[in-house]
């Protein structure tokens, strides 16, 4: 650095530079509604937001409910228009408030005539106190547990749900598992000395997980009785749940956990006999789970924590 400005923090880290751009507040993305809902087990919502900006935003989530898990699920870009999908756990609509930050572009819209402004060698602003630079409280590297379910990992060994005639729902009830995920998370402490209800975090959801249970039943009425017609009873079923990674921000911890997003179910009950008649009894649509018994994309991601009070 032959010229310019560098300001370092008490820890010796860079906080203002004429070479490196600082994130600044660009606004609160507009809430556009619930994209999808899942109401079983721990449940989840996918909330949609939009914002327009020339530079790539970094989006923070201020939870609507401190007991819920949230994360940025995905985003879409069209020109300078950004659409964000944010996942939140729970079975009711509780959209969080988002705060977006980006590197500075163009000139400030502030009418303030005081403060600190730093430009790079090309004359572009890297730091401008009038545009509310991002002050980070802490950054935590977090990864969720390998198995999302509060009831632990399922086995693919068949369970016998018994015989429930043609009532597919009854078979499912007999195959249930504790697929909730509220209490399954990895906990990380963070610098929380000034914690307040406006704390927010930026964190993506890329990890996915899916687990299943398999069911099978067979019995025969009459097979051991020469005076009775043989009647064979079969049931085959699969029950699975798909999860996405999410985070809860408590007053002292970042909790890396999961949201249940979707379930998969297949059941087929049938009865046969030696006689010419045959009944397929009842069947649901195909199972369709994309994978199971594992978590993918499960890597450490940075969870950035800041105080939204400065940007309200």
């Amino acid at each position: 650095m032959a010229f310019g400005v560098q300001v370092k923090s008490d820890s010796g880290d860079l906080i203002v530079s004429s070479d490196v751009k600082t994130y600044h507040y660009i606004g609160s993305p507009s809430y556009a509604g619930v994209q999808s809902s899942y109401n079983n087990y721990s449940g989840s919502r996918v909330y949609r937001y939009t914002i327009t900006n020339a530079e790539t935003p970094l989006v923070f989530i201020k939870p609507a409910d401190a007991n819920k898990f949230y994360a940025v699920l995905t985003h879409f870009k069209s020109g300078n228009n950004w659409t964000y999908d944010v996942i939140g756990s729970g079975t009711s609509d509780q959209p969080p408030t988002l705060y977006a930050f980006a590197a500075l572009s163009g000139s400030t819209s502030s009418s303030e005539t005081y403060g600190v402004m730093v430009k790079d060698a090309s004359g572009n602003r890297t730091f401008d106190s009038r545009d509310k630079p991002l002050a980070i409280i802490d950054i935590v590297s977090a990864i969720p547990p390998n198995v999302p379910m509060d009831g632990g990992a399922t086995s693919t060994s068949n369970v016998d749900p018994g015989w429930h005639e043609c009532n597919i729902a009854s078979y499912r009830a007999a195959m249930e598992h504790d697929f909730t995920s509220d209490d399954t998370h990895t906990d990380y402490s963070y610098s929380n000395s000034g914690h307040n209800s406006n704390y927010m975090f930026a964190a993506p959801s890329i990890a996915q997980s899916a687990y299943r249970k398999n069911g099978y039943h067979y019995h025969c009425d009459g097979c051991s009785n020469w005076s009775q017609a043989d009647e064979h009873h079969y049931f085959t079923g699969n029950l699975g749940v798909f999860y996405r990674q999410a985070y809860k921000l408590t007053s002292s911890q970042v909790q890396a956990g999961w949201c249940s997003v979707k379930e998969f179910w297949y059941g087929n009950a049938s009865k046969t006999s030696w006689a010419p008649w045959q009944s397929s009894c009842n069947s649901s649509s195909a199972f369709g789970i994309p994978f199971s018994q594992k978590s993918i994309n499960r890597v450490s991601n940075s969870v950035i924590i800041a105080d939204a009070t400065n940007y309200v």
């Binding site: 923090s9 880290d13 860079l14 751009k21 970094l58 980070i136 964190a203 890329i206 994309p290």
Partner: protein, 99 residues
């Protein structure tokens, strides 16, 4: 604070000083599905610690095994390596911050 740096807002409240972690944006790049990509961090010598965030973009995969790129950092270069086959690999965006 006997020395250092404070910025106050118009209400006189300190919102940025030498106790914070600066929101230093070092760059972002997109690694397309099935392809590797890399990004050289400008002024990496000014940064003591790098942080990355990995996003899967333009996608909400609930019906397929969707694999993001894996990320490695070496000598100021961030490399995203595609995972899986063509139906599994997803487009990944990498955001790089530092302090």
């Amino acid at each position: 604070m006997a020395y250092g740096f404070k910025i106050r807002n118009s209400a006189g409240n300190v919102f940025y000083d030498t106790t914070v972690i600066g929101g230093n944006f070092l760059g972002t790049f997109t690694a397309n599905a099935g392809s590797n990509a890399s990004f050289t961090i400008p002024h990496a010598n000014l940064i003591t610690t790098l942080y990355t965030q990995i996003f899967m973009i333009n996608d909400l995969p609930t019906d397929q095994e969707a694999l993001a790129h894996t990320i490695s950092v070496s000598s100021g270069v961030v490399t995203a390596t595609a995972q899986g086959n063509s139906s599994q690999s997803q487009t990944t965006q990498v955001v790089i911050l530092g302090k």
